[in-house]
């Protein structure tokens, strides 16, 4: 029989306002096993915790129930309190009488009655609790960063600087990500390449960093501290370690009409290519879909011109297995497709472009060498219309676009408008917006300069329609402030397309068993307190894969993720969760149902000798749970018909005791 202490928290008036805490403490006093029951204003405070510690000592408590806020809030706190008083931390149960009682019910009598029942359920459960000791597992001191954009780069550099080896897996032939495509950055207007490329070089040269470019993660097994990852290195048909990046092949290749994805298809590249001059690794890649040699076995020119013999048409995809202690997701974002926004004539006119395309048009390394020329006829645009919130902040019922704010568009649009007016003062620039959102250091000042110093026409209202007519774009819009319809003949329309997580994120989340929100952004372990950790232990989040963010924010989150990884890798051993499945060998009949439903492959089978009732011995196949791999979901416990499989901390008996107590 347990000796249980019950501690009812007032949480100031948060609980005590709707729940008669004295009555709860009094009622629970007479529950089986309860030897002590009290209430206090703030149980989580030092004084409150001292009450618990003293009671444990004084009443020789074997288990405690804290009726307080959600266990998600303070279970860990009270477990530590118990441990400090010499009680096994898993002898603590929380009755959630705040979030799930006092805050949702207004009537004191009702709230009190429910709080007592929840308390009884917790007492019934703790009566069946057993002390649990977590297992320990070693930590592989290597990190994996998935994605080589600015987020991944920063995270990798910070981890590597702390002395731990890091691998970056980037699906493109080069790291650098979206930032490498940008021209200037707000609000300082310094050039993106100037600040990014040195970091890329740092990565390439860092002794602790390996880059797997043109590669993907295809399988993740294991768990925090012990991930087994399979990386698929796609065949680039160029020996990475031999290629010098001289670029000769990329000049000689006869296949000249391959759309250049780095410039968003606004110009062409060859079948063998280096995405841009500062690419890291600076090696050529052959596009197998464009290369005649690979498709038809005819050509082979690049191999002939290569002076170092780096071309290898027979190269195959390579699979690399590596162990990691931590994984950082930095898969970034993409602008959404403009398919569903026909009103802006994106598919009809070459002169309707997205903001990212605009970045390439103004970039010195872009298709126009930095001159702002219309894609259709190469003329200077005289009137430019920028449309904000294309696909952002959409009504869910519209079934196109995103409900969220993409966060970066207001600022880059202000930047684009300002740059145009700076370089080409004869150009009229209109910006249509719903709201201008500029919360950030020096952001609003930046926007005001665009309006006040550069004379950009900011119009509150949405563009209703863009109709190409001859060589002009007829823009119909409304000005909400003056309540007028506007008709503008524009030469160029720039759409600030919403951003969304990269498509690779969803399958990756499944592999990592990391959760995502409905928009496919990764979910944080806690939105405020643990913003760079995924709920899945050992998986961390960096950059826009977690939500839209600009460069400074990305870099700070990248650093934060790195510090979490460093904290993890600095440990030699990890203490596991003891609330895991275990199998009663005497009951188990080895049917394998549990193994089939285990998402972690934690269950294996062993042949064991058993003494039968008739004193003979038989060898039987029985399940065995790997405590380091089991995460404690409990899928196996229901798959098991004999009930041999049970879950510590959430045993069938415990849950049924709770059901019984609630239904009394």
């Amino acid at each position: 029989m347990q000796r249980i202490g019950v501690f009812v928290c007032w949480c100031g008036s948060n609980i005590a306002g709707t729940v008669d805490v004295h009555a709860v403490a009094e009622a629970l006093k007479s529950e089986p096993g309860v030897v002590f029951s009290t209430d206090y204003q703030y149980m989580c405070s030092q004084a409150g915790q001292d009450i618990i510690k003293n009671a444990i000592a004084e009443h020789k408590l074997t288990g405690i129930v804290v009726c307080s806020c959600s266990p998600r809030m303070h279970e860990a706190t009270f477990r530590k309190t118990a441990a400090a008083a010499g009680l096994n931390p898993y002898m603590v149960e929380i009755a959630n009488i705040r979030e799930q009682c006092s805050w949702v019910h207004k009537d004191m009598a009702i709230g009190t009655e429910k709080a007592i029942i929840l308390g009884k359920a917790a007492v019934a459960k703790v009566n069946l609790n057993a002390p649990l000791t977590p297992g320990q597992t070693p930590v592989t001191k290597r990190a994996l960063v998935i994605g080589g954009g600015i987020a991944g780069i920063q995270t990798a550099l910070d981890i590597a600087d702390a002395g731990f080896p890091v691998d970056i897996v980037e699906k493109k032939p080069t790291i650098g990500g979206k930032m490498s495509q940008l021209d200037k950055t707000f609000p300082t207007l310094d050039c993106a390449a100037c600040i990014l490329t040195p970091k890329m070089v740092d990565v390439a040269q860092h002794e602790n960093i390996r880059i797997f470019s043109y590669s993907e993660v295809t399988d993740v097994k294991g768990f925090v501290g012990n991930f087994d990852v399979t990386i698929k290195k796609n065949a680039r048909y160029v020996k990475e370690d031999v290629c010098t990046g001289c670029g000769l092949c990329t000049e000689k290749c006869p296949m000249k009409k391959v759309p250049n994805e780095f410039n968003l298809g606004m110009d062409n590249r060859r079948a063998v290519y280096i995405p841009f001059a500062q690419a890291v690794p600076k090696v050529a890649t052959i596009d197998p879909n464009a290369c005649n040699m690979i498709k038809n076995g005819k050509c082979g020119l690049c191999a002939k011109v290569c002076t170092v013999g780096a071309i290898d048409y027979t190269q195959k995809d390579e699979f690399i297995q590596e162990k990691y202690g931590a994984i950082v997701v930095a898969t970034g974002f993409n602008p959404i497709s403009m398919d569903k926004f026909d009103e802006f004539a994106y598919s009809q006119s070459k002169d309707v472009i997205t903001s990212l395309e605009f970045e390439r048009l103004t970039n010195a390394a872009g298709p126009t060498a930095g001159k702002l020329l219309r894609p259709s006829d190469g003329k200077h645009p005289r009137t430019i219309v920028f449309v904000q919130c294309v696909g952002s902040r959409c009504d869910a019922k519209a079934e196109k676009g995103k409900e969220y704010c993409s966060k970066i568009c207001c600022m880059y649009t202000a930047k684009h408008a300002m740059l145009v007016r700076d370089k080409y003062p004869d150009t009229e620039v209109y910006v249509f917006y719903i709201d201008v959102r500029t919360p950030g250091k020096n952001f609003d000042e930046f926007y005001r300069r665009a309006v006040e110093e550069y004379g950009v026409h900011y119009v509150k209202g949405m563009v209703g329609k863009v109709v190409p007519e001859g060589d002009v774009l007829k823009v119909q819009a409304s000005d909400l402030l003056s309540n007028k319809q506007l008709h503008i003949d524009a030469d160029l329309v720039v759409l600030a397309a919403a951003i969304e997580p990269d498509k690779s994120a969803r399958p990756l989340a499944t592999m990592l068993t990391a959760s995502m929100d409905t928009n496919d952004f990764f979910t944080e372990a806690h939105p405020k307190l643990r913003p760079v950790e995924s709920p899945t232990a050992g998986v961390f989040l960096s950059g826009a894969c977690q939500g839209p963010k600009d460069i400074p924010e990305t870099v700070s989150q990248a650093g934060a993720a790195a510090s979490k990884v460093i904290g993890l890798l600095a440990k030699d051993k990890l203490t596991g969760n003891p609330c895991i499945a275990h199998s009663d060998e005497l009951m188990c009949n080895g049917c394998s149902a549990c193994e089939k439903v285990c998402p972690y492959g934690a269950i294996t089978y062993v042949d064991k000798e058993f003494r039968m009732p008739d004193r003979t011995t038989v060898i039987r196949r029985v399940a065995s749970v790997n405590p380091a791999v089991c995460q404690g979901c409990g899928a196996c416990t229901v798959a098991c018909p004999s009930g041999a499989m049970d879950l510590r901390g959430f045993s069938s008996q415990q849950i049924m005791a709770e059901v019984d107590a609630i239904c009394k």
Binding site: M587, C591, S592, K596, M656
Partner: protein, 332 residues
């Protein structure tokens, strides 16, 4: 009419014993009457020649016995399997319940088994002998001067009327002709129940299950129920119960038992055959089979050794529990 004869089976068993292929034979043993056949282990030719029978009352499915018997005997066991028995055999192998190497399985065709209670409904009590006569049984009773001719198809067991397969899905050797998987109407009764109102269904099951005496015959004969200890017998399971104390306990036992064998039940029909209270237990198991087929695609437990049962599998596109009813309501 059974197409292989008792003599064929006896000769096969004797030969396999003689050449040392098997150590013993799991077969049907003649009883007190012509219809009370008992499963038995034969170890000598003499025993086989004296007592081995093969007739229209050899319904017992031997697959489950292999779990215990393969542990008990060193060397191979010869087992005779009717087509439906082979599904249970495979399912038990899928669940690693016995060592395949310790079994020599001989498949035998089956023309369907007679249900003695149906014969007694026609002929009354007091049967003194039953003889096979082509497609008929010749039943002699102490009350009638002349034997009564009963057409076998009139007295077939429920499961044989709804036979799902005459094809053996596992064997080492086959006697006689192989049959085919049959397009049976075995889900018709389930569909009839589904078409009733909830009140009617409740009344139906309340009446049926109220007869349960919790003798556990359904469970103990079931080839899917091979737990080392059943949750209903295990005091630590929290649901241990020995008696059908009230209508809740009756339902609890049968729902959970059906759930535990869902995806594993081959629909061998033994549960309904052995129920002393004639509760149509197969209608519970078949409901799960029908639902599984409809929700997750056709699946026959035991058809293939090693197959993954739908209850331990999923797809990301599965229907929602709430859609189960919408779906049926629109179908109806």
């Amino acid at each position: 009419m059974q197409t292989v004869t008792r003599e064929q089976l006896i000769n096969k068993a004797v030969a396999l014993l003689a050449d040392g292929t098997v150590k013993c034979v799991l077969g049907w043993k003649k009883g007190e009457f012509d219809y009370d056949v008992t499963p038995a282990v034969f170890e000598t030719e003499e025993e086989i020649r004296a007592d081995f029978v093969w007739n229209d009352f050899c319904g017992a499915n031997f697959s489950k016995y292999l779990v215990a018997k393969t542990r008990q005997f060193d060397g191979k066991i010869l087992v005779f399997l009717k087509p439906c028995d082979t599904y249970s055999f495979n399912q038990l192998l899928t669940e690693h319940r016995f060592d395949r190497d310790k079994v020599y399985a001989v498949g035998i065709p089956c023309a369907g088994m007679a249900d003695i209670s149906k014969i007694k409904e026609i002929c009354g009590d007091g049967i003194s002998s039953i003889e096979a006569d082509g497609d008929y049984l010749s039943v002699t009773t102490i009350y009638d001067d002349q034997p009564i001719k009963v057409e076998i198809k009139e007295v077939l067991a429920e499961r044989c009327l709804n036979c799902k397969s005459k094809k053996h899905v596992a064997y080492d050797e086959l006697l006689g002709e192989e049959g085919d998987v049959i397009d049976s109407n075995r889900f018709d009764e389930v569909a009839q129940l589904e078409a009733m109102t909830p009140d009617e269904r409740f009344a139906f099951w309340q009446k049926e299950l109220s007869r349960c005496i919790r003798c556990n015959a359904c469970r103990d004969v079931c080839p899917a129920c091979t737990c080392e200890k059943c949750v209903f017998d295990n005091p630590n399971s929290g649901v241990e119960n020995k008696s059908p104390a009230n209508s809740f306990e009756e339902k609890m036992f049968h729902i959970i038992r059906a759930f535990h064998v869902a995806g594993r039940c081959t629909d061998c029909g033994e549960c309904s055959r052995v129920c002393p209270q004639h509760i149509p237990l197969h209608l519970l198991n078949r409901k799960f089979i029908k639902d599984i087929n409809e929700f997750y695609g056709e699946y026959q437990a035991g058809a293939q050794e090693g197959s993954r049962a739908p209850v331990v599998d999923y797809t990301t596109e599965d229907l929602e529990p709430g859609e189960v009813f919408d779906r049926r309501d629109t179908n109806a």
